[in-house]
């Protein structure tokens, strides 16, 4: 219905206009649709004219600012918020729980025909016993055998049980995805600090405007590890010209994530960055209805032409 080439031409033309090219020069490259493009490009200037007056914004901001400041002060401060650490403990918990479960299965798996409630299907699929473990204590049908297993694995059972239950079917991929991110942090840090970078790290000379943080972001490592490897005690004290060891940035990665412009030909990417918004994916699903509504409306629009 909508003319695909015109959509592409309009997108290109708008990008060029944003780069500062005059409209006349742009539309000269699209002779077949020059008139329409000129009109449409002019119309794109209109939305920014709808902005509310400064007085309104200033007024609203005084209230927004004070609310924000209050909320920010009330917000918890995280100590060196390190998601790797949390992931690590999560993994350990999971691993411990798995060991526990294996022990459980070993105890039962051998020859025990399970207590009263057990049926033939349970022996056939060992995963069924996993779901039993967290609720064992209240269950009246479980008797002497249960108490034995609990004492067998005292160290592992208490904490992790809650986290394990949702995962039994799909826990295999988890360690695989988190493992790589742990690698850079496992750099030795002795009492006498010695700069001893991993083999694949390279030398980088600090430039004007660099901060430890900005270098860390660009090389895909956390500040702490970067500082530790380079024996930097005070992150504020890095100077231009100083040499640091950094992980070699992936060559193909340059600008991949940060460059949002000019992706006119990159079309199948709708889902590329879903993980960035994962907390809001659920929301998205709820708005499908609105999308349908729009589509109908759009058809009507075209008809209008």
């Amino acid at each position: 219905m909508i003319n695909r080439p015109l959509g592409d031409a309009f997108e290109e033309a708008y990008e060029r206009k944003q780069q500062g090219e005059p409209i006349d020069a742009i539309i000269a490259d699209y002779p077949a649709v020059a008139d329409e493009l000129r009109t449409l490009l002019k119309v794109t200037e209109l939305p920014s004219r709808a902005q509310p007056p400064h007085s309104e914004i200033a007024d609203v901001r005084t209230r927004l600012d004070s609310t924000f400041q209050q909320q920010l002060e009330a917000a918890p401060v995280r100590q060196s918020g390190n998601s790797t650490g949390r992931r690590l403990t999560g993994l350990l918990g999971l691993a411990a729980a798995l060991v526990g479960l294996l022990a459980l299965m070993a105890v039962f798996g051998g020859e025990v025909v399970l207590p009263p409630t057990a049926t033939a299907t349970q022996t056939a699929s060992p995963t069924a016993t996993i779901t039993v473990s967290p609720t064992q204590t209240p269950s009246p049908t479980v008797t002497a055998t249960m108490t034995v297993t609990m004492t067998d694995i005292p160290a592992t059972t208490p904490a992790p049980t809650a986290t394990v239950t949702p995962l039994p079917a799909s826990d295999t991929p988890v360690p695989a995805t988190s493992a790589p991110s742990l690698a850079p942090t496992s750099v030795p840090a002795g009492d006498e600090c010695q700069i001893n970078p991993p083999d694949d790290w390279v030398m980088y000379v600090v430039q004007t405007g660099d901060t430890l943080s900005s270098i860390a972001v660009r090389t895909g490592i956390d500040d702490d590890s970067l500082a530790r490897v380079n024996c930097i005690e005070n992150a504020a004290l890095i100077r231009q010209g100083q040499s640091l060891f950094v992980p070699r940035p992936p060559a193909s990665d340059t600008g991949d994530d940060t460059d949002n412009s000019g992706q006119t030909s990159d079309d199948s990417t709708g889902d590329n960055d879903e993980e960035d918004y994962d907390d809001y994916d659920d929301y998205e699903d709820n708005y499908d209805d609105y999308d349908d509504y729009d589509d109908n409306y759009d058809d009507y629009d075209d008809y209008d032409d």
Binding site: P47, L72, V77, G81, D253, D257, D294
Partner: protein, 190 residues
Amino acid sequence: MIVMTLPDVTDDDILLKQARRGNKRAISDIYERYVEAIYQFVRLRVGHIQQAEDITSAVFTAFIEQITTGRGPSSHLRGWLFQVARNHIYDSYGEKRGLPLETIEQMSAPHTTNPEHRTLQSISREQVQQLIQQLTPDQQDVLLLRFDQQLSLKEVSDILGKNTNTVKSLQLRAVRALQRAIARQGVDVR
């Protein structure tokens, strides 16, 4: 010695990273950087000052809450903020769908003052607002995000959850629809 060139990184990414580590100054800087843009976007979408203020506030409440608990975005900060804003706008549709009646009546009557001399420049701010609000929600989103806030095609496609081709079509339709709405007001765009 190898002197390397590091990949470019946006200020947003650096701020965001500091914010995720609990740096309140960085959170504050992010707010400072985007609060007005978010407010302007929401204000034009919902039309009511108080409602726009509430939604803007909710966006940054969500941001503080998520970023200080290790959730929220780790990149694409601007897109994330606009997406949250948009979600809140859609939530508010249940309460107040469509425009106040008097606005619709005002709009349906074409302006009659010297129609042959009216140009794009002569359209008032309020009129532009009203014309935009006549469009479908998606058309409004794409017009405001792409042509007012000047987000990239990719950012808009992420926010709308549509692929870039769809957004290209959508933005063309939106601009055409706005142009027709202007034409109905007797304004000659050329």
